[in-house]
Symmetry: C2
Subunit: 276 residues, 2 copies
């Protein structure tokens, strides 16, 4: 999916919502535990209930890996289900990978050829040759961690060099010089929304994947105010506030309600910016 | 395994070799492709051939994930095989994970409870709360990326602040203030062995996991000269130069020969430092 197709979807759905499928078998409604594959059963219900309100899904690999090879299978089934039933939805594997070149090649093959996701989150720590194997896949997106929404983002991402540039700013600036940089997106946490203004000076055009709205306390209004550009340029992720909105047999309809509420706020934001 | 037990193994084996099980199904000897699980068959033969010359194995997750849920199973079988047959061997899952707290919890559960490895490599980019879930596991080790052996290590790890401190030095210094910091090891590439002297000033006692000897061109002598402390403090990894030493039915015995040669050089280095 290219940038224009993604923006078209955003306008069509009047939403830039990404639903995080951080599916923890210990948190899903108890009645699903009788299913052959409880994780997939949960995801399928959440996807069917929320697909009309969002433009992307972001399964977080950690939650699938934590139950071993069985979880890897649930992940594959989830991606296949989205591809077959909602091919217009953008799929981001949240894996935060990044390794030396020949290893990143393997990850790229895994996620882009075997699993067929549209995008993968990647850690920048190891530099260009750890990222370029992902960027070399035509039509795929690499989502680089820049400024994350957790407390520990202060430890290293906010380190400043002698000129006052933060590490996360350096990550964005330097990565824009790499081959195929037009297929980079950046993770910028909603809990640090005021930083979005400065980030937009470095990358006016790039899509930003923004976690931290909802359970982590970030404000959607601030994110839209400081981060939105003329093709939206935002994918705002919500995970727990949607998928764990309820723990009974009504979990999917409650999730739909939460997703619909976010969609309405996003529609307002898109209108305020004159994009729809 | 604690620090003393690891050092005892090093003295007993007269080796600080870690064999990297970066098993690529496209590179293993063709006759193994007829096996039910070629990756596990290859690993089993390599492990049986090299166990007497090394103290650790480091399977790199990327190579297993690249073939999907089937690869995850090969990885589990490999870890189980080492645990059952060579329980004295230290197992490092090279996964370079790191995510917000509740997600790192899932990874920690996955690697330390489900898979029962001794150590996991982790990226420091997201800071303390992304690492503490790993450090909180008693008896387990967290191996933090510091200065890697690839070209891209220059991009961000070598960024300097106004006081001249590099990012990788900051990672080591700050992480030493975290709870259970005595269960941290650090990745420091052999291709930058001269940096080991400065690193030993910050962490005189920590174990360093050193990739980059062999295929990547780092020197074992330099690593031992600048990095060894009074309990060795080094695990030197070699992957391709050992496991792909040969591509015929003799692959395992050729791998053993390569591992034995490294063991002899390591025995010399340990003697030079008076540790055995």
């Amino acid at each position: 999916m290219n940038r224009k197709e993604l923006f078209d979807q955003i306008c069509h759905k009047r939403s830039f919502l990404c639903v995080g499928l951080d599916t923890d078998v210990k948190k899903i409604p108890p009645h699903l535990l009788n299913e052959d594959d409880p994780i997939f059963a949960f995801n399928k219900a959440i996807i069917d209930a929320t697909a009309e309100y969002c433009v992307a899904y972001k399964p977080n690999m950690a939650f699938y890996e934590s139950v071993g090879s069985f979880g890897a299978l649930s992940f594959e089934k989830t991606v296949d289900y989205i591809c077959e039933n909602y091919p217009e939805l953008f799929i981001i594997a949240d894996a935060k990978r990044g390794d030396i070149g020949n290893t990143s090649d393997m990850y790229a093959r895994s996620f882009f050829e075997h699993l067929k996701v549209d995008a993968l989150t990647v850690s920048p720590y190891m530099g260009e040759d750890s990222i370029s194997p992902f960027l070399s896949y035509a039509g795929k997106w690499t989502v680089l961690l820049a400024l994350t929404s957790n407390r520990g983002s202060q430890d290293f991402q906010m380190m400043r060099d002698a000129d006052g540039e933060y590490l996360f700013e350096r990550v964005i600036r330097i990565s824009q010089t790499w081959d195929n940089a037009d297929h980079l997106m950046y993770v910028v946490g909603a809990t640090q929304a005021s930083m979005l203004k400065d980030i937009r000076r470095i990358v006016p055009d790039a899509f930003l994947l923004v976690p931290g709205v909802g359970a982590q306390g970030g404000s959607l209004e601030d994110v839209a105010e400081y981060g939105m550009n003329d093709h939206c340029g935002l994918l705002v992720n919500a995970s727990r506030s949607i998928i764990y909105a309820d723990n009974t047999e009504s979990f999917a309809s409650k999730a739909a309600g939460e997703a619909a509420a976010m969609q309405r706020s996003m529609e307002d934001a898109l209108r305020r910016k004159g994009l729809i």
